[in-house]
């Protein structure tokens, strides 16, 4: 069962549940942020997009102190897969479960668009359904998505293969013209050192049906389903 965490101000929680439940056919439940525990049988945690706590102070800064985050941290430390999209990515960075931080977009615009990202490293649990070098077309919608990290920490991320997705042209070229928000190294998604926590600014849950623009989000969410099923912890 996948737990989709609901903070006050989350707004992609239901879309995430829809993607998991109705499109991928696995159990997924909304879990209110005040819960001190994850439901029994939780095999994966999804932190959705939105504007938790109105983005006050910094995006994700308040949500990290929600009671459920203690349980999410425990789950992550025990090796459970955790995926944060957009605001969920910001929350994971603020909570220290992922390296770096997300800042106001380079050009100050709120971006709402379809972009392309290149898969840098394929493999479980987040990208087993993709291959390295593959270009995914996904939507973004954020005002604060500029990934930032100190130079030495960035070198560590690169060396450890923790950069999973980079903004690129439709042909897969990673250059400044394809960088929507000024993220360092065109970084769109990273994982932790252990490999079980990932965050990304694009929205895989909004790209799960051809009717609404594309299905490339399934490369990510489907991989997560495969990983959880393989671990025998599903449903």
């Amino acid at each position: 069962m996948f737990a989709v965490i609901q903070f006050p101000g989350s707004n992609d929680d239901r879309d995430m549940r829809f993607a998991m439940k109705s499109v991928l056919g696995v159990a997924a439940e909304l879990v209110w942020h005040k819960n001190p525990e994850l439901p029994p049988g939780t095999a994966g945690v999804l932190l959705p997009g939105g504007f938790s706590y109105g983005d006050y102070l910094r995006c994700g800064a308040m949500a990290r102190f929600s009671p459920v985050m203690t349980a999410v941290r425990r789950f992550a430390e025990a090796g459970g897969p955790v995926l944060g999209t957009c605001n969920g990515f910001q929350v994971l960075c603020e909570a220290g479960l992922l390296p770096g931080a997300l800042l106001r977009n380079r050009d100050l615009d709120f971006l709402c668009d379809w972009i392309h990202v290149r898969v840098e490293h394929a493999g479980a649990p987040f990208l087993s359904r993709a291959r390295a070098g593959q270009v995914l077309r996904l939507p973004i919608k954020h005002g604060e998505g500029r990934y930032a990290i100190a130079a030495d920490a960035l070198a560590g991320l690169e060396a450890g293969g923790q950069v999973l997705l980079r903004y690129c042209t439709p042909a897969g070229a990673v250059d400044e013209t394809a960088n929507p928000n000024g993220s360092i190294g065109n970084i769109a998604g990273v994982r932790n050192a252990a490999g079980n926590v990932m965050g990304l600014m694009p929205h895989p849950e909004h790209a799960v049906e051809a009717l609404t623009g594309g299905t490339d989000g399934l490369a990510l969410l489907g991989s997560l389903v495969d990983a959880v099923t393989a671990a025998g912890r599903s449903r």
């Binding site: 102070l57 910094r58 800064a61 102190f65 960075c93 603020e94 390296p99 770096g100 931080a101 800042l103 106001r104 977009n105 380079r106 050009d107 100050l108 500029r146 930032a148 990290i149 100190a150 000024g182």
Partner: protein, 81 residues
């Protein structure tokens, strides 16, 4: 006791808001404005009159909540009664 805390983006972190404000200054004719950095100021009312207690508390708050050490620096501007 009241504490005033200032949080700024680290010097090497791009501040597009500050840059936009600097450009606006120049547009208004203030062409001697060469750089602007935008930060946050917190005025914090504390239930203590002891300076050392207040300082310890505010430091803890800055590290835990008010600033994100990955991208921001903080400083206590002053204490006032």
């Amino acid at each position: 006791m009241k504490a005033v805390v200032c949080v700024m983006l680290k010097p090497d972190v791009l501040d597009p808001q500050g840059r936009a404000i600097q450009r606006a200054c120049v547009t208004l004719g203030y062409d001697r404005v060469v750089d602007v950095r935008q930060g946050k100021v917190f005025e914090i009312e504390l239930r203590t009159e002891d300076r050392a207690t207040a300082e310890g508390l505010v430091r803890e708050l800055c590290e835990k909540l008010l600033a994100n050490g990955v991208i921001e620096d903080w400083r206590i501007e002053r204490f006032a009664d």
